[in-house]
């Protein structure tokens, strides 16, 4: 029962936080500096790990599908399989998971520390809403950066698959053939689908992590617990939402 109450409380406070943050949207131009800083943290510094991870995900996908398809002549469709899998599913989900692990944890830790050390209370006392200066720039930054991270993940994953397809002896498909299959059967809809999903996931991750951080109560020990909770909830929400968003977009 307590679990359900906690879940509902979390959902309600998250939605309220979102509403409050969005109500300050017109102050965003004045917070351009904070927005850029968050963009840098969320997008620019996350790019290397997203690229590395996507390269190997694309490679493994090509390797496994090549292994499965080599016995019945389905090797030429590896390009399509990797292309569609990466753009529709793996790139947005992996980007969101990395965001939760790398950025979400940092946000939760930062806001939880501010809360524990009463900086948030000080802001409130000075009539500076935390939703305006702490949440809104992050939400805006993730909305701008998530599509960029996802498209990079898509392309790096596709190229990873192409390289593995060429140099693995039991696949041995030239990149021209790999990309020709992808171009023939794949449409931009798949990529757009993935970008929309990534946008939703990124938004949810940042919002949840901000909410968990801002609602931390107690001493310094709670900071670690808040980070763990924020990441776990984010991961669960990413995968649960993935199903429903895919159903809606399909």
């Amino acid at each position: 029962m307590k679990l359900l109450t906690d879940a509902l409380e979390g959902l309600g406070s998250t939605l309220l936080l979102l509403a409050r943050a969005l109500s300050y949207t017109r102050t965003l131009p004045r917070q351009f500096g904070r927005f850029i800083e968050q963009c840098y943290l969320i997008g620019y510094t996350t790019l290397p790990i997203v690229a590395i991870l996507s390269f190997f995900i694309g490679s493994v996908l090509a390797l496994q599908s090549g292994f499965a398809g080599k016995d019945f002549g389905a090797k030429q469709f590896i390009g399509l399989l990797v292309g569609v899998s990466m753009s529709r599913e793996l790139a947005p989900v992996m980007a969101a998971i990395l965001l939760a692990g790398r950025v979400g944890s940092a946000i939760a830790a930062e806001l939880a520390s501010m809360k524990v050390y009463q900086e948030i209370d000080a802001l409130v006392t000075m009539n500076i809403p935390p939703a305006r200066i702490l949440v809104l720039p992050r939400l805006a930054a993730v909305a701008v950066m998530m599509p960029v991270l996802t498209i990079v993940a898509d392309l790096v994953g596709w190229f990873g698959g192409a390289i593995i397809s060429k140099y693995t002896h039991f696949i041995a498909i030239e990149p021209e053939s790999y990309f020709a299959t992808m171009r023939q059967y794949m449409h931009f809809d798949s990529v757009l689908n993935g970008l929309i999903k990534a946008e939703i996931f990124g938004f949810v991750v940042v919002l949840v992590c901000c909410n968990v951080g801002l609602n931390t109560r107690g001493g310094p020990r709670e900071i670690g617990a808040a980070v763990t909770r924020a990441v776990v909830v984010s991961l669960i929400l990413i995968l649960v939402l993935d199903f429903f968003v895919t159903r809606v977009l399909a």
Partner: protein, 332 residues
Amino acid sequence: MNNSQQTARVGLFFLLGVALIWVTFETLSGGKVFKDKGYELIAGFESLQSLKEGDEIRMAGVRIGEVKGTRLAPSGRRAEAILRIDTGVKIRADATATIVMSGLIGTNFISVDLGTATAGELRPGAEIRTKATPDLGAVMEKLSSLGTKLEDALGSLSGALSGDANNPGLIKKVDTLVTENREKIGATMTNLQQVTDRINKGEGTLGRLVNDPKLHDELLASVDQIKAAAGDAKNFVANAQTIIDQVKSGKGPLGTLVFDEKVSADLRATTQNLRALSDKIARGEGAIGKLLTDDSLVKDAKAVLKKADRALDGFDDAGPITAVGVVARGLF
């Protein structure tokens, strides 16, 4: 890191992302931001097989549109595919649409033929003519029935060859025939062997023809001569044809004679005159007629000749005297 550097990096990063999205979009969707609305045609089929929305429409292999949707006709008696054709593509009224399977994994497209150049164009919303194509299931069914028939035919053939208790099969009959006529067949084979031996040795006409190169050359020369003769005959026929053509066109004396009406009339008149003349001669009329029919003239002629003869005899006797007289009269 100062603030402006951070801003520049974020800006660059964002631009990179937008550029990548644009490149992906251009590559996968052919750069069409807004889809060409084109115009629609209706294609009715007994079965759409596995045709689905988004499948291509090709004319002579070139993509000209896509299937916008599929539905059952309001009458419920057929299925209809709504075809979205690109603007600027003209489809003739007698063009035919068929569903073509392009791969074994179930990808289909609609193929539209070119139609005839003189036919009118189909207007938006019009219905295009269609032709049913058998789907894979129907083909397999026919193959199955073909297999059954083939099996029956092979069974009958097998029965005919091996036979049963009452009626010995073909193989048995052939076996009996060979067994009974073994000696005759052996003799025939021996004869055949002898004949081929002789041919190999160059004996007899056939042997020489096969083995003697001279005979072969002569045969070739004969064939050449026959060819030359045929060529001459061809020329002759051509010349004769030319003459006939000239005669037909009324050229030359023969042509004039055959085709000129005036000459024909003259000839007819001449013939009639000749006939009249010969009739008169036959009847003994006129000088020539009398000459030919009346013998009194001959008698008269004979009498005249006799008289002349006698006169000449008399003249012979008096000749020298008269001659001397004439000479003397001249001298004095």
